[in-house]
Symmetry: C2
């Protein structure tokens, strides 16, 4: 089950690139402290759909950013995602035992190591964005903007804040607007960062193209989350690689709980259409991003 790749061609085309880039950027497992390094590698290299790197590369293609300029950012956003899963799975948080078809990091190692591995991974993401460029590459100002993009997405106004709000909320007691706020922070902020990290190397924040991409990413973040919520109910544990029905077991508010399965599917479609409308002005250059967005709407894994 571990090595089975998801059946998602648009994602898979980026998978080997980002996996190789991650492999070379993570600390070697034989360097001290070995257990910590092994846990960091376990958390990041154990499969995963690599949605955020794919969005980063596909946005870069649209904007003619050389792909090797994007490897650090693609790794950074995936490493942040991996750290957040390690911490979210901890007993004091969601208390999950299974992730990507394997024991969660605190089960495979121990809680202290999982906490520290998450901490060190967050830090590594920023280290990657700050690496000096040899030869042609992004300017220091562009790289600063990337650090700003990623740090704002991760913190209390973004991903960490969304997880805090998610823990505080329980099913039935929140409405769709509240759920959307949680998901815009918890999942959406990092999905948006994946797109922005590429845009930061080509565009100023205040030009219309940047804002189109930003609204595309915001809509797609919700599409992704809605699909996640639906799969939690309709897919099986082996396909998911995490416990099927975990959201329901945790009494979490989800789109299907609030809107029903059909309602959630309709909402996903609407948001996907909204995302597509933001790509119109880019013409055929946006084709890789469109293909990826279609796959995220319809994915079964």
């Amino acid at each position: 089950m571990n090595s089975r790749p998801p059946i998602c061609p648009a994602l898979n085309q980026w998978r080997s690139r980002v996996d190789a880039a991650l492999e070379s950027r993570l600390p070697p497992a034989d360097a001290a402290p070995q257990k910590l390094h092994a846990a960091m590698r376990y958390a990041v290299l154990g499969g995963g759909k690599r949605v955020r790197p794919a969005l980063c590369y596909a946005t870069g293609m649209l904007l003619d950013v050389p792909l090797d300029w994007l490897d650090d950012a693609a790794c950074a956003v995936e490493i942040i995602h991996a750290y957040s899963l390690v911490h979210d799975d901890l007993p004091a948080m969601d208390d999950d035992d299974l992730r990507r078809g394997r024991p969660t990091t605190h089960r495979a190692f121990d809680e202290a190591t999982a906490i520290l591995a998450g901490d060190a991974l967050q830090c590594l993401a920023f280290e990657l964005l700050s690496r000096p460029v040899a030869g042609e590459g992004p300017t220091p100002a562009q790289k600063m903007q990337q650090v700003r993009t990623l740090s704002r997405a991760c913190g209390s106004w973004g991903m960490a804040g969304g997880q805090a709000m998610d823990l505080a909320a329980s099913a039935g007691r929140i409405d769709e607007a509240h759920l959307e706020t949680i998901h815009r922070k918890k999942t959406g902020a990092l999905i948006s960062a994946a797109v922005r990290l590429a845009a930061d190397l080509a565009l100023d924040e205040d030009v219309p193209a940047y804002q189109h991409l930003d609204r595309f990413a915001a809509a797609m973040g919700l599409v992704f989350q809605i699909r996640d919520d639906i799969l939690d109910i309709t897919a099986d544990t082996a396909t998911l690689g995490k416990r099927q029905g975990a959201d329901l077991a945790h009494d979490k508010a989800t789109y299907p709980v609030l809107l029903g399965l059909d309602g959630a599917q309709r909402r996903g479609l609407e948001l996907h259409q909204r995302a597509m409308s933001e790509l119109v002005s880019f013409g055929s250059a946006a084709e890789p991003l469109r293909t990826l967005a279609d796959e995220l709407l319809n994915r079964h894994c």
Copy 2:
């Protein structure tokens, strides 16, 4: 006990500056998610000697860096320190109940909130270093160097790695060289970062002055840790603001355990002298840094 400032004039002169800067940079407690923001403020604003900001400012004075160029870095390094204490105090790590004369963050709030507050604080530190400069200020290249300095200090090769090695070690089974390696990472890396963050705004990494400051900081990191180890034995809980004898209770390897109290004191003096020798070439401009170093050697709090 909470508000009693340490009797350390060289530290205290920077205290109100960095406390005001931190206050204005932390998320307001009334903004959602309130509990998370309250925990972040609790962790950072609840006292603390502010050793790292003081080292940053004093190094900046030596190098003629305007103090207001240093506020973000001084806050960033203190915020990293605060997050590391929150996570180190967790039940799965050192399981401490008292910190800075108050309940630790997971005791005052809950474990999930403490984990997330630490996570969001780490991220905030990098956000502060990436803030756009209005008017005169550091260049993007200098700020990138600061992000690099801080991120390398925090991760698995630095602070987080040192904590992992500290958890793995137990008293009696390690020698002084191993203990020094742990402390160079766990405490020393961030102390060095405090000095480097100021040097990054004035010097290239490869000039002798940068290297003198770096070796000064490396030696002072150990001086600071040795003094900490001694105070854990000789001071009382009220003065420390954390449980007296916690190191012994945790069966931790410390300098006094390995060298005896007198031996540890002698080692601290030797390292302090080594640190002082690195400042000779700066002449009288290094006076603030010398005063601070003397205070760190002799502090009672």
